[in-house]
Symmetry: C2
Subunit: 309 residues, 2 copies
């Protein structure tokens, strides 16, 4: 799957993914009203609004981008109806031939991680049949439980040619509370990064591995170190835009081949119409504002990479 992602990045010249993390207060009033009119102010109504909002944005940007990253928490908060909207979003993005990175941050002990891996990337056996449940292309994985919590994901990656991004240095302000603590002279995130590189070596597909890492755009220096530590691993880079990361911060997340990173923007794209810069579109043209913000993001990153050459 990393080969497909790399090919699509080269084709679109856009090493990005659009974070489909809808919050109800991003969604234009008119769209909310329509959904509530049909389903009431219920979990079903919220889920319908989320789905219609996503669909419009995907329709407006899919030809510009290689991948999307739906954040499952934003759907899970609306219970079963929300998760149905998540699944519809994954399926719709597949119809548009987008690579889908499920931002699920799962991780558990062996057999339980195996169930997550099967449900999100692989298949489950039911009697004599195999069934796929959520069927994302990549998912994010939390490493706190150690190797035997990650291994079931590696096994499914190998079987299904799918991939994972392991949390290494997350984008949030307090990611350092534990991730930055020094162990034998090096921060924990470097030890995790080293493991990611090792796991990655067992899941190669072309020049890159189906095992990558999550490193926040908000920590560019750490990104530079981790880039060197995991040369064959793609880095999924959240935190661009609304969280404060800029194009110029990102250059060291990339390898010299211009690959090796996929930068995520969520709010900055899906709620672009709320920014002054894209205000002229108005809430009725929110999806066109998202398209404009996507084009601007691609230019910002392209310029930063050119300037660094």
């Amino acid at each position: 799957m990393i080969q497909k992602l790399a090919d699509k990045i080269k084709k679109t010249n856009a090493p990005i993914c659009v974070g489909l993390d809808p919050m109800l207060d991003y969604i234009p009033e008119e769209l909310l009203k329509r959904a509530y009119k049909e389903y009431g102010e219920t979990l079903e109504g919220a889920a319908e609004a989320v789905w219609q909002y996503n669909k419009a944005i995907v329709d407006a940007v899919y030809d510009l981008i290689p991948s999307v990253k739906p954040q499952i928490a934003m759907y899970e908060q609306f219970g079963i109806p929300g998760l149905i909207a998540f699944k519809k979003t994954v399926d719709y993005c597949h119809e548009k031939d987008l690579v889908v990175i499920g931002d699920i941050k799962r991780g558990d002990i062996g057999s339980t991680s195996g169930a997550y891996a099967a449900g999100h990337l692989g298949k489950v056996q039911v009697g004599n049949h195999t069934c796929a449940a959520f069927d994302e292309d990549f998912c994010t994985v939390n490493p706190y439980l150690g190797i035997d919590g990650v291994k079931p994901f590696l096994d499914v990656c190998k079987e299904e040619k799918k991939g994972i991004f392991v949390l290494v240095k997350t984008s949030n302000p307090s990611s350092g509370d534990f991730q930055d603590r020094i162990i034998d002279g090096r921060p924990l995130y470097e030890w995790v990064g080293e493991k990611v590189a090792e796991w990655g070596g067992t899941c190669m597909e072309g020049d890159y591995s189906n095992v990558g890492a999550v490193v926040g755009a908000t920590y560019p220096k750490q990104g530079e170190v981790l880039r060197r530590l995991m040369p064959k691993c793609f880095i999924l880079v959240p935190g661009y835009g609304a969280q404060g990361g800029k194009g110029a911060d990102l250059v060291h997340f990339f390898n010299e081949d211009g690959l090796g990173a996929v930068v995520n923007s969520s709010r900055g794209i899906i709620a672009a119409y709320k920014q002054e810069k894209y205000g002229k579109y108005g809430s009725e043209n929110f999806a066109e504002a998202s398209r404009a913000a996507t084009l601007d993001m691609i230019t910002d990153i392209e310029s930063a990479l050119m300037a660094a050459k």
Copy 2:
């Protein structure tokens, strides 16, 4: 909610929870056949079998125990139908007045953790209405992202008087890969435990806190240290039974008041009928075997606590 759990533990004299972590190969053939006949060998068929299996076990043991711990991965692997079975299980256990610990091991950056907290413990705002999605009483939380990933759960705990158990030292063989690494002379899990104690201090309800910790029965020495480090925090102790933990290993997880720990057994109870010891029940009486195993577990822990006095 911790007060309710403590009261129910005193009333049942059973500091345990039953792990509702159904795997299809635990479920008796007859029950599977019935579900597949109605829904086919599909995700729906698997979910129906899981639900019927759970219901029979809950009916057989609910009067003996204070709490259950459904492991969401075992449902999520069957996609939407699986998560519907999870929700039905949570609701049914509430009907039986059991405390429900959702073993979800979620954790993300601030606003995203907020969505998980709202969806699993709290309520979401939809228009002018508030809706509860999964509505567990406690859930488990992964601390790798640091304080701002945990704080939204603390906020919901305070609002809703519900609780969390933060992963500190997990029961799996490779939990030490990162959790045992030494930082300033002490393992990472102690630093996490210290934070849990600090967070716990802000969420007290009676003698105990609504913030607890997960520490595996398979690590009794570490449990003893962590018990002292977090005196007001309940410890959720997985790994009893099938994973190798025994009653005698557990005494140091408890405080002198006989409280402070809730020991989970999953396979050892829900698939008891597959053990030689309970073989006489046969697969047709699997729920009665679960009841017998529950009574034996309660006796084992009670004896160990008596012997330690």
